[in-house]
Symmetry: C2
Subunit: 453 residues, 2 copies
């Protein structure tokens, strides 16, 4: 199956593209991608998905067979033949992009990404940009919470099997590492993104052997000090005793069910008594940040956590209320800021910048302003240009570099904002320039809307 | 980016594969994929994902650069060189597969899919099979509920932008149509799976025009009787009046915000008064089965629903508690049924079949038995062989054929099981043969487990 290209969008984007083409509209515009509100359980989000977006935009085009398909779609039957024959075959993304670097903490109403370009191009990429950025941001944001909960113990992403398909599994693994995880179990993510991969064994390895200790002995013979033994297929205490009695010295043992706190203490005692003081204990099994925090604060002798579904599906907040909205149109050299007035879905007009103020190594507040306003004194602008005329203007950033940025930037947030339960609201204000623009657009649009021809 | 191949798995599957290879184990085994329990909101699931699984298995192999990557992974450093040099390059999936046809209603504890093959191969495909089947089953299951709620009105899947990446968006669109939706907005799903695609316009089309009626006029000039106009960017009533006054005759208008019931009545009245009695009304905006049911039962003049996030992320149940467990090992001609005893995660042993009994056109109960038990009188077996020795034994089934099967089979379920709230539990029993086997395995495994060498 070919990777999804320019057809990775909603059909109406093609209808509108045909509309712009047919009306010979040379209009450009700017669109911003932002999250309307944070899920109740999140004090902050971690921006992620930019590198995959830049890869997507760089290779974006319609294959001939895709164009033939579009030609056959009844809803597009009104589009001129030259739209299919001339326009779509040569179409490439030639716009400009500004974005927050991956790993940057971000809040409701702050644009993570802005696209400026021909209206048709900027529309056609909408669906792919939203699905990529919102999903990776969801996972990275939850990973940051799980890592915070683990308080320095290792966290490995284990959730490939419950992700939304094989590609989502790889993307989730990437985003989980970006958000702070130490490693992933996804072999494909290790290959594509050069992130650390880790693994143990499955219950089936134990079950398919004649007996449990034979299964362990074979694994340790093969993998030596890399071996991690899963000890809960039958009885973890009996298994631990058998391991020490057999003289095996695995790197770690893993518990995947039951009372993880009590079992980890009992297993630790038996490992230590058997001389296996270097053998670590890893736990897994339907963990999330709250269970991880409870285990970490219990003082249980747990060295690492494997976290699956909670990370790969961002299960408590499986989507973000993110949108991609037009904020300005440029026609004949005239810039017109725009805002949508739909009930409950009003947007803010104009191209924006997000400024973050730091004080003594702490992020203390953001201001959303217009991108041509002078930045407030001592504030750092978060959106930077990453693409000009369809060409990248910044070198690719590896997932591990982004993780490093994320860990630093999250540590700068106020601890109350990082709290797992009832996080405090981080202060985000709007600049006077943005408020004034919104007022004036509101006044003019309300009049101009469906009336004056 | 190349589509995910054999690396679409957890690293430990490769570690175990190396283990089976190193021990020259010729053992085969059978694994079953099933859901442990239904989400609280689901009375049934709709099996989906089989066609993509068969495509995946048919093309499954390790590329040379992927093998080089695996060779560099520290956790695999104990694997013999010939594992990388000889075994992995020639590895293909050569097992047998049984499965429920896509679109079949399925319940907790019933295998949707069974794989029989070399243990290493059957393990290596685990993660991809689970992520594909569980995700598409989640979405198809929710789609069936939304379609039930719509009571005959059209339902279009609109959720690409909030899906878990671009590939998940296409898979979700496929599964939503399979589960009963009339169409999807995903152009890529239309291209790949030949499912109906539909679309309207975005708010940006209206906002980027000098005024609203110009935006509509241009669209209708181009798309004629295919045009669907979005009327809530500013004021839907004002927009409707302008449309009728301008003499435009769109196929439909769409409301995306506000009081959809009240607005649809007001818009209908104005359309009818303006002679546009054939113009349909489509509504969207954070809809799910409950909102759809309320709108449908209100008698509001709504002709179709666009449903997004609720479908593409299965947002109220974003994952299923699905697993893929070994149920039998075959070594030297001896078949040994297996079960896992982990706390809270016990499995049932042996290769199974699911039998469904029908009475007067109603499905009235299932029995899970062993696959070599004679089927109960008058029951239909649901699992069928679909692959033998790595080759498909059944022709591909199109998504629309599977939708047709789904609609029929869901209609056969008791209405109480299909209820949106507090659905009744569909009766699933276990055969005497399966119960007896479980008892005998429990007795023997409990003894054999970690003890006797």
């Amino acid at each position: 199956m070919a990777p999804a290209g320019a057809l990775s969008t909603d059909l109406y984007e093609f209808a509108m593209a045909a509309g712009y083409y047919a009306s010979a509209g040379k209009a450009h515009g700017s669109f911003e991608l932002f999250v309307r509100e944070l899920p109740a359980t999140r004090g902050y989000l971690v921006a992620a998905g930019l590198e995959p977006v830049l890869e997507f935009l760089s290779s974006w085009q319609c294959a001939p067979e895709e164009i033939e398909f579009l030609r056959s779609v009844p809803a597009l039957s009104g589009a001129p033949a030259s739209f299919f024959d001339e326009y779509l075959p040569g179409l490439r993304f030639s716009g400009d992009v500004w974005a927050m670097p991956e790993g940057t903490p971000v809040f409701a109403g702050e644009p993570l990404l802005r696209v400026r370009g021909a209206l048709a191009e900027a529309q056609l990429v909408e669906t792919a940009l939203l699905s990529t950025v919102l999903f990776q941001t969801s996972v990275a944001s939850r990973a940051a919470r799980v890592v915070e909960a683990a308080a320095g113990r290792a966290v490995t992403e284990f959730g490939g099997r419950r992700a939304h398909g094989v590609e989502a599994a790889v993307a989730a693994a990437r985003a989980a590492v970006l958000g702070g995880c130490d490693a992933t179990s996804s072999a494909a993510a290790g290959f594509r993104y050069r992130v650390p991969v880790a693994g143990t064994m499955a219950h089936s390895w134990v079950m398919a052997s004649n007996n449990e200790i034979t299964a362990y002995r074979r694994y340790v013979e093969l993998f030596g000090d890399q071996a991690v033994l899963l000890i809960d297929t039958y009885d973890p205490i009996v298994a631990t005793n058998a391991i020490t009695e057999a003289g095996l010295a695995p790197a770690a043992v893993r518990l995947d069910s039951g009372d993880l706190e009590g079992l980890s203490r009992a297993v630790r005692a038996r490992l230590d008594a058997g001389g296996l003081t270097e053998t670590r204990i890893i736990v897994s099994g339907d963990l999330d940040e709250f269970r991880v925090a409870a285990l970490a604060s219990s003082g249980a002798p747990i060295d690492g956590f494997g976290v699956g579904t909670a990370l790969s599906t961002s299960s408590d907040a499986p989507f973000l209320s993110g949108v991609y909205k037009i904020v300005e149109v440029e026609q004949g050299g005239v810039l017109t800021p725009l805002m949508k007035l739909s009930t409950g879905k009003r947007t803010a007009p104009g191209r924006k910048q997000v400024w973050r103020r730091r004080d003594g190594g702490r992020a203390v507040g953001d201001t959303v302003g217009l991108c041509d306003e002078p930045g407030p004194m001592g504030f750092e602008p978060l959106l930077r240009q990453v693409m000009r005329g369809g060409e990248r203007t910044v070198a690719p950033v590896s997932t591990l570099e982004a993780r490093s940025r994320c860990r630093t930037a999250v540590a700068e947030l106020p601890s109350a904002v990082r709290r797992l339960e009832s996080p405090a609201v981080y202060p985000v204000t709007r600049s006077a320039g943005l408020d004034q623009l919104a007022e004036s657009v509101l006044a003019s649009q309300a009049g101009a809307g469906p009336h004056g021809e």
